[in-house]
């Protein structure tokens, strides 16, 4: 039986541009189920990142409702949405956004510190996460010492260490070469299968698309196509 994890209802997002408004998302109605490995595809400015940011409760819709893991994010306080992000959502950014003064270990550990987990629990979880991405030997290095591919793998470990139900990845392969992009997406696919984590990507990278089970194509802020590519998951 499928478990609904995200639902958007008549989602509209407008941004002020001078005296006018730009509609980034227009009447989006989508449902995403647990364990999906879905890509939001579209050209620049189609609203992919905006949709991810709203689902991740970093932004709020202008109109409509967004239900994430049973919670209407339009009604959450700052504190509640922070709690939702901390416990249930992992973010992976295009430029990794690793904290420069922390070691790799500390970067991954951060989310667990926010959850007040004990030091021993944190250590085990961080080393497990680094093992998933094959970087356990670099735990004490700083992000500046990493290559692009390694940096993004640390970002994946950071997103996964808290075992979130949902991972939102914004153009995760945009700054990587083909080899690294394939390696990254394979890692995420493995984690998706192993841990049943729902992955939602925004991307226009062909390499990523080939791994996806579902494609949601956005054009000018509207859903142009919603295509299932692998029936076993949906």
């Amino acid at each position: 039986m499928t478990q609904e994890i995200i639902k958007t209802e008549h989602l509209v997002k407008r941004f002020p541009v001078g005296e006018d408004e730009f509609t980034a998302l227009n009447d989006i109605n989508l449902t995403f189920n647990k364990s999906e490995f879905t890509g939001i595809i579209g050209p620049s400015g189609s609203g992919k990142t905006t949709l991810l940011n709203i689902i991740g409760s970093l932004d709020t819709p202008t109109e409509g409702r967004v239900i994430v893991m049973g919670k209407d994010i339009t009604k959450l306080s700052h504190k509640e949405s922070a709690k939702l992000r901390n416990l249930s959502i992992g973010f992976i950014f295009q430029i990794y956004n690793l904290l420069p003064v922390y070691t790799i270990f500390e970067n991954v550990e951060f989310a667990l510190i926010l959850q007040n987990r004990s030091a021993s629990e944190r250590k085990k979880a961080v080393m497990d996460a680094l093992e998933w991405v094959g970087l356990e030997h670099m735990a004490n290095k700083r992000p500046s010492k990493l290559s692009g591919g390694e940096g993004q793998r640390v970002a994946i470990a950071r997103a996964m260490v808290k075992r979130p139900e949902l991972v939102l990845a914004d153009e995760p392969t945009a700054n990587l070469d083909a080899k690294n992009a394939h390696a990254i997406i394979k890692t995420m696919k493995e984690l998706n299968k192993e841990l049943n984590t729902t992955f939602l990507f925004s991307t226009h990278d062909e390499k990523v698309i080939s791994y996806l089970n579902r494609l949601v194509i956005l054009e000018d802020g509207m859903v142009a196509k919603d295509e299932l590519r692998n029936n076993e998951l949906v």
Partner: protein, 385 residues
């Protein structure tokens, strides 16, 4: 708060040289503030001790007609105290006269004091044991201005109670060194017994100096001025110095705090993506504000630790050796030693630490408040201006 401190500590350690530069500037301000206040407190303590030991004793019992600030009252400002044999009171008689050192006329006060007194540090035993007919002791400043030395004989002229002039040669039997100008400049000290004989003022006294055992009973015709009352001018002077000193440490603190403010404001601008990431990872905006505030406050903690490393040995050394000044403040009418030994009380150190930490926290909070209004999306994109 524990989390904010934990993260702030990691950020500070990670920031390396930038952290240490700020901490050094602040620690310098911190040490100078303690040193300056310690110097003022040391001066204050020395001045009060000198005042008590050389001039005030434990209070003065003044004849009601005598006003120490009005020289015209000296002429008639004396009387006979019914309990003049009280062991707890040392009598002093003041008269006016002229001294003629090196044929130069010098208007002076002639002060007669009980040669057996033990309340003041005045070396009155020299008067007691001298073979001279009219032995006197004078202060160092008086000896310099009159250009006289021990053993010199000088002509002294005065008027007795009947307004009749008389004169004799007095012998300088001792020169004392004091930081209290009010018992030194323009005066000579001699035996009260001799002065009473010279002026025909038998049993007359201008004021008494009380010792610690003196208790005030009926003193009709006499006014008691307590030690605290006699100190008031000195305390006023010290307070004025403290206020003017506070300007110096406001400037120093401002420099240190500006460095923190500047670093924090720049840091918030430069670390927008980091702030956005913190929020994306599940921190509330106020948690981030607290973290940045704690970071700023920690500069002051580091400054305190750093200041302790180099400052405490330095302050300890200065408190032992003292700080010398080229000229004595007593030349300007202040009780001030040529070498002041700063006093660093626990109160002063803890008070300064609290002020520095509190101020650093405030100036760190001011720029950090901006985070509370930051849009995390703009922060992640580095678009906050």
């Amino acid at each position: 708060m524990k989390l904010a401190l934990q993260l702030a500590y990691k950020n500070l350690v990670g920031a390396g040289l930038r952290t240490w530069l700020n901490a050094i500037v602040l620690s310098f301000a911190f040490i100078v503030i303690i040193l300056y206040n310690g110097l003022i407190d040391g001066w204050n303590q020395q001045a009060i001790n000198d005042g008590i030991n050389w001039e005030w004793g434990y209070g003065h019992l003044l004849n009601e007609n005598y006003d120490p600030f009005d020289p015209f009252t000296i002429q008639d400002g004396y009387g006979e105290f019914k309990d003049f044999n009280n062991d707890n009171l040392t009598p002093v008689l003041i008269r006016q006269g002229n001294l003629y050192p090196h044929r130069r006329m010098m208007p002076i006060y002639i002060k007669g004091i009980d040669v057996n007194q033990a309340i003041l540090k005045l070396p009155t035993e020299l008067l007691k044991h001298s073979d001279a007919s009219y032995p006197v002791i004078i202060g160092k400043q008086m000896s310099e201005s009159a250009k006289v030395k021990v053993g010199d004989k000088i002509l002294l002229r005065w008027r007795d109670k009947n307004e009749t002039y008389d004169a004799t040669t007095v012998t300088v039997v001792g020169i004392f060194d004091t930081n209290v100008p009010f018992i030194d400049r323009g005066q000579i000290w001699m035996s009260i017994k001799k002065l009473r004989e010279m002026t025909l003022l038998k049993h007359k006294t201008t004021y008494f100096i009380a010792n610690e055992k003196f208790s005030l009973s009926e003193t009709v015709g006499w006014e008691f001025q307590s030690q605290q009352y006699l100190m008031r001018e000195q305390l006023k002077l010290i307070n004025t110095k403290k206020i003017s000193g506070s300007i110096l440490y406001i400037i120093l603190m401002t420099l240190g705090l500006l460095a923190i403010f500047d670093t924090q404001a720049l840091s918030i601008f430069r670390r927008q993506k980091e702030i956005g990431t913190f929020i994306a990872l599940g921190m509330t905006r106020w948690q981030v504000v607290r973290m940045f505030t704690a970071e700023g406050a920690m500069y002051s903690v580091l400054a305190t630790l750093l200041g302790s490393l180099y400052g405490f040995p330095l302050l300890w050394y200065l408190s032992i050796t003292g700080i010398g000044f080229e000229i004595s403040g007593s030349e300007f009418g202040m009780i001030m030693a040529e070498t002041i030994f700063p006093v660093f009380s626990l109160e002063l150190i803890i008070g300064t630490v609290i002020i520095v930490i509190f101020s650093a926290t405030i100036v760190s909070f001011l720029p950090a408040r901006k985070i509370a209004k930051m849009n995390p999306i703009d922060a992640l994109k580095g678009k906050v201006s």
